[in-house]
Symmetry: C2
Subunit: 259 residues, 2 copies
């Protein structure tokens, strides 16, 4: 018999993960969110119930998936009775043992991707990292994860936090640099559009080359003249000159041993 799920949380990750589970045939009984609209929207999509009160969370599920901000865990979870139901979180940087005071059976399913509600993703292509506090539930979580992803690995909490940090650099910080680039262009009335082929190619290169070998630009050429010009132009635009300076230095330091 298929395991039944309750989702605690209705954000970006909850939306994509619960949809993938439902599409793989797992019943999602209920969605909990503090925000009525979010809970209702996701529940409608999943054809499930929803609630905004921790008192009325269904007792009927086998697996409770916690997909809320790490900082909200200890506000929401103490109000719910899980007893020995499997309690799973999806967070990169929360150790598994933080769940142990809430249930005897705990686990982690960490899908490594950036989710926005409106954007479709192919969940099967997302690497998923699993951990559990027993071999039995580790096996069960691997089986579940393999229904929604083609790349499932077991990974400890100690290692998972490094994976999360790497993802922050490769995704969140990268996207912020796209934002900075867009802001700089807008001061000159140049459309962000013109950067799109460069952004695509930069990401495409490292699918086939090591990023170290793909590095180009003034910093790796030690072109101090260009760097000085750029710093001069950036003076006074937010913190951009400081960021430019520290990332250029970091490129120097990383590559000087190699050249």
């Amino acid at each position: 018999m298929q395991l039944k799920f309750v989702f605690i949380g209705a954000g970006n990750l909850a939306t994509h993960f619960s949809t993938a589970l439902k599409n793989a045939g797992y019943p999602i009984l209920q969605v909990y969110s503090r925000t009525n609209l979010s809970a209702a929207k996701l529940a409608h999509k999943l054809n499930s119930d929803y609630t905004t009160s921790t008192d009325t969370i269904s007792k009927e599920a086998d697996v409770y998936v916690i997909a809320i901000k790490d900082s909200a865990f200890h506000e929401v979870l103490p109000a719910i009775e899980f007893s020995d139901k499997l309690l799973v979180h999806c967070s990169g940087s929360m150790p598994l043992n933080e769940l142990e005071k809430y249930s005897k059976n705990t686990g982690v399913v960490y899908p490594l991707q950036t989710f926005s509600k409106k954007r479709k993703v192919n969940f099967l292509e997302i690497p998923v990292f699993v951990e559990a506090n027993s071999k039995k539930y580790e096996k069960k979580l691997v089986e579940i994860a393999q229904q929604v992803s083609n790349t499932v690995s077991v990974l400890s909490s100690e290692k998972r936090i490094y994976l999360h940090i790497a993802a922050v650099f490769a995704c969140n910080f990268v996207n912020h640099f796209y934002t900075i680039a867009s802001t700089i262009l807008s001061t000159q009335n140049i459309p962000f559009e013109v950067l799109k082929p460069l952004i695509s190619e930069t990401a495409a290169k490292v699918q086939l080359m090591q990023p170290e070998d793909a590095q180009t630009g003034p910093a790796i050429r030690f072109d101090e003249n260009i760097i000085a010009k750029h710093l001069n132009e950036l003076k006074g635009i937010k913190d951009y000159d400081e960021l430019y300076n520290s990332v250029s230095k970091s490129i120097f330091e990383h590559h000087q041993k190699k050249i």
Copy 2:
């Protein structure tokens, strides 16, 4: 009659740009590089002559394309007699007027892309920015550029440097963050492979959304607990904790007005 070209430089940009021109039917008479191997390799590819001496640069071309490091311009160019031949550079941050002491007719063709010799690119998709010191040559350069690119614009030196700075953030700095992510993963024996879907999706999202709206992660959620954990794990790994801190702060500052 087709204009004939000489390329001064045989690096990544020279290789891709000269190949695109040749494929569009323009004869490339000669390649100059200080490095014999680079000159010979590119000349072989273009079926052209090559030289490593500024004394033997052909006088027969109509257009001389300078595709060398900005810092090498004033070492190489004074040794060559251009008279009134069209002299064109391809640099983002060098003003057009730096060429004026070497020829009466000067221009810029700046293709906005990251080039690695071994990697094929579709030049037609690359936005190309053109400038010249006369309307006549501006028109000519636009015509030439339109033979190799579908997106050709005229852009002043003053604006081009901002475009270059934006490209440094969106490509060079982004790629360095891929390198940092890869270095962090390697300390845990996790293959860089696992980040590839995330890197692709992060670049794909901003093809359709504004990068500001695509921002995810602990910094934009103001999740100080996760940020503190990450900074703690990064302590002592090169300059990564400093970079993490300054980029996170920059994300705070950019988005706090919007939330």
